[in-house]
Each structure stands twice: as C-alpha cells, then as structure tokens.
C-alpha cells in the first residue's frame, strides 16, 4: 500500500509540474520561443508573494492573487519591451537573452533576499490529510494543487478553442503574417501570451512556495521539470503536459521510494531520456516541429 500512496503522491506532484509546464508550452506554441528564464520567473513570483506577505502583511491568498496580477503585467511588458526584439529567423538570440535573464533574476534575488531558503506559510491547510481507506490518506494540499492544475489547463484550453482572442492566438501560431492580414497585432498577441504564461507560472511558483522551501537558485530545476513534462506530453498538446507532468512526478516519487531520496530526481531524468529515445514526439504530439 505504501507504493500506491507514493504513486498517488507522484500523480498529485504531476499537477504542480504541469502548471509549471503549461506556460512554457503556451509560449512555445504561440511564438516558437523557449524561455530559459521560465522557472526563475516562477520563483520570482514566489519571492514577490513573500515580499507582499512580509511588508504589506497581507494573507497568503491575497498576496498570491496580487502576485499573479503583477506577473501578468510583467509578462506583457517583458515580451513587448525586450523579448519581441529577439524573435526572428535566428533561433539563438532568444535562448541567449532568456539565459541572461535567468542569471539576472537569480542573482538579483540573491542580492535582495539573500541566498537562504524561504517558505510561504499558509497555515494549517498544508497539513490536513484526507483519509481514503484504512491505509491510504492523501494530503489535502497536494490534492488542491492537482485540482487547480486541471482547472487552469481546462480554462486555457477553453480560452484557446472557444474565444475570439483564443482563435487569434491559434491563427498567429499557424501563420504570423496571415494573422496580421486579419487585423491581429502580433506583438500584442505575443505580449498577451507571455502575460498569461507568467500568470500561470506565478500561480505554480506560489503553490510550490507554500508546499516546500524555495531559494533563488531553484529556477533552473523548475525549468527542467517543466521542459521534461512538455516533451514527454507531446508538443502542441496542453493536456499532454498534464500527462507528462504526472509521468515525471510518479517517476520521481517511485524513484525516491525505491532507491533513496537522492535518486528520485535522477530516476525522473532517466525516464525522460528513455521517452525521448523511444518516443521523441511525446505521448500526445499534435504539432510536428521542423
């Protein structure tokens, strides 16, 4: 029963990974750009929330909501103010610039907050468990995170499929120039896509911060897990990132249980590399990238 417990923990963890992954996948889907600072921006959000809690004495929930709004705006400005200028036929510039951004954010956070681990205290919600059977109980918080991830992904999918703006996103992703001819302003769409992506990763960062400790150097790890979830899930599929996240989460928790806590992450990586070797387009690939 221990294994089932561990697997379920992995599934729920997968929800958090999927949340981190969704923003990354959205940005890549709309503007074919990979943001290497994606994880760091999630951690930045956690620090912003922490700052709001400590200085404005707002509760965690209100700080969280305010942080999400802030990061939405930050995303729009970042895209239109900097990243839009790196887009073009050359793949290398966005990678170099977002990597530089990653360095800036990490070191900026260390300078402002110090390199110490921090935590976001949400009170008792973190510790409540729900009993399922005699031997099986699930933490209320991980379940909440998982459900939130499903809600966010469903909302995003609905947005893309059913709304006028969502259609504009898909059209821009298909053919940027033809979209311009429809009256769609690319640069604005890209800005909105990044804004939404950062709002989602902000939520992910805050949920992470409540669940565990965080520090300025955590960003790259978040990026890597998000990336692994996206690739395993299959590019072009938002629900796929949930599946990818779950596979990763379960691999990590089962790995930890089987080989010891230092090895869990490694098992996750090895599962990822195996999927990459055996099924490189992921489980649910919709788009085939050149």
């Amino acid at each position: 029963m221990d294994w089932v417990n561990v697997a379920i923990q992995g599934i729920l963890l997968g929800g958090l990974y999927a949340l981190f992954a969704t923003g990354l996948a959205l940005v890549f889907g709309v503007m074919r750009m990979v943001n290497l600072a994606h994880g760091d921006l999630g951690i930045l959000a956690a620090f912003v929330a922490l700052f709001l809690v400590q200085s404005l004495h707002l509760g965690v929930m209100w700080s969280g909501l305010l942080t999400i709004v802030i990061m939405f705006v930050v995303g729009y400005l970042l895209q239109r103010g900097l990243l839009n200028f790196t887009l073009g036929s050359d793949d290398t510039r966005p990678i170099v610039v977002t990597f530089g951004l990653s360095i800036i954010i990490q070191n900026g956070l260390i300078m402002w907050f110090s390199a110490d681990s921090q935590g976001l205290d949400a009170g008792t919600i973190e510790n409540i468990s729900v009993r399922i059977t005699d031997k099986l109980s699930i933490g209320w918080y991980p379940l909440l995170v998982f459900l939130l991830s499903i809600v966010v992904i469903a909302a995003l999918q609905l947005f893309l499929n059913r709304t006028k703006l969502g259609r504009a996103f898909r059209a821009t992703s298909d053919d940027r120039e033809a979209a311009e001819l429809m009256g769609i302003n690319n640069r604005h769409i890209y800005g909105l896509a990044m804004a939404i992506a950062l709002a989602i990763v902000a939520l992910a960062g805050i949920l992470l911060a409540v669940r565990t400790t965080f520090d300025p150097t955590q960003g790259p790890f978040r990026l890597i897990y998000a990336f692994e979830a996206v690739i395993m899930g299959g590019m072009g599929s938002i629900w796929g990132t949930l599946i990818g996240g779950i596979v990763l989460g379960v691999s990590q928790t089962l790995g930890s249980q089987a080989f010891g806590s230092g090895w869990g992450i490694l098992v996750g990586h090895l599962v990822f590399l195996t999927v990459l070797a055996v099924r490189p387009s992921g489980f649910f690939a919709k788009t085939v990238t050149a």
């Binding site: 120039e177 979209a179 311009e180 001819l181 429809m182 769609i184 302003n185």
Partner: protein, 232 residues
C-alpha cells in the same frame, strides 16, 4: 477621389529593388487587373498596399490619405483586405473558424458567414473540417471568403488561379463576377491573362518592377499585351 493611388512607389527587399517608381490609380467600383510574368513585382505591389511591405519612397494613398506608415493589422479596419499568394488559410483552424477570424479586425457590413457561404456553396459541407484537409480550390474559396468577412472596400487578390484545375478556376471567376456586381473595388494580380481580362475593366502590365502597359482591355490589342508582358 480614387480609392487607391500609388505615387512613385519604390520597394526594396534588402538590396534587391522590386518596384521602380510605380504610379497608378484605382477608382471606386473598378476591377483593376495587374498582369505580368513572375518577378514582375505584382505580389510585392499587393503586399505593399496591404502593409506587409513598406515603400522605401513614394506614397500609397487610400481615399486620399497616406497609409504607408500604417501597420498591416490596422489596414484591415480601414477597409483593405488581401487574399495572399498561396492562399495561406490557417491550417489548424476549421473552415468556420477561418471565416470567423476574417472578421476579427474588419468592419461591419453585408458579408458574414452565411453570405460568404452563399457565394461559395462548396464551403457549406466543409464547415467543421480543419482547413489543412481542404483541396486547393476549396482553400482558395475559403481564403477569398475569409477576406470578405472583413467587409473590405478594397479587395486585393493575389494569384487566385495559381495551381488550380481549370474547372476550379472557372468557378472562382464566376464568384468573382458576383463580387464585381456588389460594387467592391477589386485589385487582382494574375499570371493567367485570359481569365482575368474577362472580369477586369482596367489592366496594367508589370515587367521587372515597372508598368509596361496600362489601359482598358477593350482598347488594348492582344499583340500589345503580349509584347508588354514579355518585354519585347
């Protein structure tokens, strides 16, 4: 006042000059044909009018107002719609969604999904299909319909017969006659001279970025047109 006027327009692609001091006028309700061989600059012309290309010098006037600095996505709202070369329907969107997106930045008017599908009945059964699965002729009809959804004053058509079977081209041009009847100003670029001259009331022939011949089809002999087309 003319709907569209170009004054001494030069367009460069990097170091390569595609248009040399091009000037002409399109009047309201006209169907203006631009013909010429490949490389004549016709597509560049349409792209410049639509805003995807900026002239290096010269002016593009729409109803007398200069638009050369207006970005492409704003020109749709002004009343200029382009059916681009190669159709370029949105592959991951359905037929219906492609039409919907045509109205995104456009104006109010008579064209909506119903009236467009009246014009192109072949689209009716395809409404829910993904645009990538359509044939060339179906995609062309969709691309034209999509542009119409913006209720343009000036409709730009770039090589609509390219790569299509003769029977399909015939159907497209039949639809175009309807369009002409509605009074829309149309600027159509074609390599296929025969078909376009049946609908056009004014024609300009482009050769290597310059206008080599201009006038009413009824006034121009086929020898003159051939000579201007090939630069003889």
């Amino acid at each position: 006042m003319s709907v569209l006027e170009l004054q001494e327009v030069d367009v460069f692609y990097g170091d390569f000059q595609a248009l040399f001091k091009v000037s002409f006028k399109v009047e309201e309700g006209q169907t203006f044909a631009c013909i010429g061989a490949n490389g004549g600059g016709k597509s560049t012309l349409l792209r410049t009018i639509a805003g995807l290309q900026r002239p290096t010098s010269g002016k593009v006037l729409f109803h007398g107002d200069p638009v050369d600095q207006v970005p492409a996505h704003d020109r749709v709202g002004m009343g200029i719609a382009l059916v681009p070369e190669g159709r370029r329907v949105f592959p991951s969107l359905t037929v219906f969604e492609n039409l919907q997106i045509g109205a995104y930045g456009g104006r109010k008017g008579d064209w909506n999904t119903d009236s467009v599908m009246e014009l192109f009945p072949l689209l009716k059964p395809l409404v829910k299909r993904q645009a990538s699965s359509l044939s060339g002729g179906e995609q062309q009809a969709l691309a034209i319909g999509r542009a119409l959804m913006a209720n343009p004053q000036l409709l730009l058509l770039d090589e609509v017969s390219l790569g299509l079977a003769p029977v399909v081209i015939k159907r497209i041009y039949e639809a175009m006659v309807h369009l002409v009847d509605t009074g829309t100003t149309i600027l159509v670029v074609e390599q296929d001279v025969q078909h376009v001259l049946t609908v056009a009331d004014h024609v300009a022939c482009f050769l290597e970025g310059r206008i080599s011949l201009e006038g009413k089809p009824s006034d121009l002999s086929s020898e003159a047109i051939t000579a201007a087309y090939f630069g003889m």
